[in-house]
Symmetry: C2
Subunit: 369 residues, 2 copies
């Protein structure tokens, strides 16, 4: 056995199905109808790996436009995709102007001082108008000033951001739509973008010229009643059994003895813990999946380890070195977030860096190992 | 301004004070009196950076022994420290034997099948005896078999792990101590190790030959009533203000409009979010520190951003591009965990990978920027 293979086997692993991500992109692009569809790959593509995922999307779909949070992410992405359009949400600072230009990255200007910094540049940029979320972007007052001023920008895009797009019937969506429309009309020919993942399912009037899904590309649900048809899980995390032990009635498992055996029990210790990010459930009822059966996590999650109760007869053949699914098609983000203090977004972006990562276009998620 | 500097400035940053970590090591080694003191650097040194921290400890203290969780971490550490003693908690699998030997890494054998795999090897190893936590290690029954058998091992260490060392008066500690002592006596000359960070403060009888602190090296508290004297904070996370906006009464901030301004408010948007790991507080009362004053985080934490209320007069001079402390000497792990669903261990190991990281031996944590 080679050193490389031995090392790979000694970690838990993260298996990303690039084919499923491409499928999700196409599903969302189809839903957006005549609008173009970008890809939001900030925060290392929501924890799953920006380089591999951006390449897969760029080379296998019509997607040309990517959004990241900051300039470091943008420069990394530029190295990966020399010809993509890259926008940075965080905006522009005076010490960054040259870097933006050198790497042909487009700033999203968030206030009038940033407009001044880019003014006169022939390179493209975007404007961000706040329509109520009060994070980044021009306030209504600033927007008025901007619309009434002579600005010397090569404006290729205008954006705003929805507050609660996942609550499809909430009046806020319609109010924001109205505010954004007014600015779109005032700015004339500039392409416009409002819809995040949830916004794509609010109807075509929310699509404008470009939609920009994030979490749904990765198979996560921003809070809709159910994940829309056609969207697939895109990854799985599998951990290995380090040891199996027989625990007698009255014995406890783990730190602070929070689980006590009521009957003779068979317990598997697995090589994944809260340092790997996916299991920050703080002693609530979570499960792993072994050969298609759910097995309960017991006791406190440790930094590098969990304990799983495999006393049930369906686990009789389970042995040391076997793998269990921690998160994936059988233990979905939805199931995991229900028993966690963290939501789907946090579970995704919190995926740790100790996994051995596999990327493939036909990874057969959920296949038995 | 160079590209490198522009990029550095565009991220939030993590500043690790290696001098403080060395100080904490010396404090713990002093407490251990005649026992030697190892360093637990698994999970990327609890999120802070294994390479830099292990080097600093090895080259500036008498520490020669390091503990990691798995073989990948061990091989990485071997590259950094060619002459250190490295133990792996996760144990030994048949496909790993050659790699352990090639890199002169010592397995901690957790069950009798692992003993068989290493038996006959002249290379050193350790034995793990379970004394009640029921994670890894030989059960009492297996221990008996092991002690009565002729094993052909070069045993350099025997360890066990405390269930609740931070509860100093709990009877469990004494029970585990008694069980471990029996094994120590039966095994004769083999050096022994029981105490983690909390165990170091249970008294000298818990120290045996080697103590193995983890979280306290990094300034964290495993749950003692207060952090013992002499231990210092070892890092700080600082984020930059991206934009400052005036928010009128009745306006809301952030996703799902969970915060509403009751009076005219000044709000700073900062470049750190839950993807950076440290702020998974899910809308509870957390703060950042700006120039020594606490400012409340408002609204929902976003993936890449937080909003901070800087309406109070002490923030009058605060401007875009200024930094705030997110975690460090002023916003301690203790304060952060109190308002979080996550504990100090989880906050530490959950520190994200998007920070620009600085390592220095005199970093002057908390200095104004």
């Amino acid at each position: 056995m080679s050193v490389e293979k031995a090392l790979n086997n000694s970690s838990a692993f993260l298996n990303v199905d690039l084919g499923a991500i491409i499928n999700n992109y196409e599903t969302l692009a189809g839903q957006a109808q005549t609008a173009a569809c970008a890809a939001v790959v900030k925060a290392n593509a929501y924890g799953l790996g920006m380089t591999e995922i951006a390449q897969a999307i760029f080379h296998n779909t019509r997607c040309t436009t990517f959004f990241v949070a900051n300039l470091v992410e943008a420069v990394n992405l530029r190295t990966t995709l020399p010809n993509a359009v890259i926008y940075v949400f965080n905006g522009l600072f005076s010490d960054q102007i040259e870097t933006y230009k050198e790497y042909k990255i487009r700033p999203i200007l968030n206030d009038l001082s940033q407009v001044l910094l880019w003014s006169g540049s022939p390179e493209p940029c975007a404007m961000h108008f706040d329509t109520g979320i009060n994070r980044l972007g021009l306030s209504e007052h600033e927007a008025e000033k901007f619309l009434n001023s002579r600005h010397n920008l090569n404006l290729e895009l205008m954006i705003s951001h929805l507050i609660r797009s996942e609550e499809q019937d909430h009046k806020t969506n319609n109010i924001q739509l109205g505010k954004f429309r007014k600015i779109v009309e005032a700015l004339g020919d500039v392409p416009a973008s409002l819809a995040n993942s949830g916004g794509i399912f609010l109807g075509h009037e929310y699509h404008f010229d470009l939609v920009r899904p994030g979490i749904m590309l990765y198979g996560g649900n921003p809070g809709l009643k159910s994940l829309p048809a056609g969207l697939k899980p895109t990854f799985e995390i599998k951990a290995r059994i380090l040891q199996i032990r027989d625990v007698l009635p009255g014995m406890t498992v783990g730190y602070n003895a929070t689980w006590t055996a009521e009957e003779p029990s068979r317990v598997a210790l697995m090589n994944v813990g809260y340092a790997d990010g996916t299991l920050k459930v703080s002693d609530r009822k979570s499960h792993v999946s072994i050969n298609g059966h759910l097995a309960p996590v017991i006791g406190k999650v440790s930094m590098d380890m969990i304990a799983v109760n495999i006393s049930a007869s369906e686990f009789d053949k389970v042995k040391v070195s076997d793998f269990a699914e921690i998160l994936g098609p059988n233990i979905t983000l939805e199931m995991a977030s229900e028993v966690s203090t963290l939501g789907q977004y946090e579970l995704l972006t919190g995926i740790g860096h100790r996994y051995h990562r596999w990327y493939g276009k036909n990874n057969k998620l959920g296949a038995k190992i």
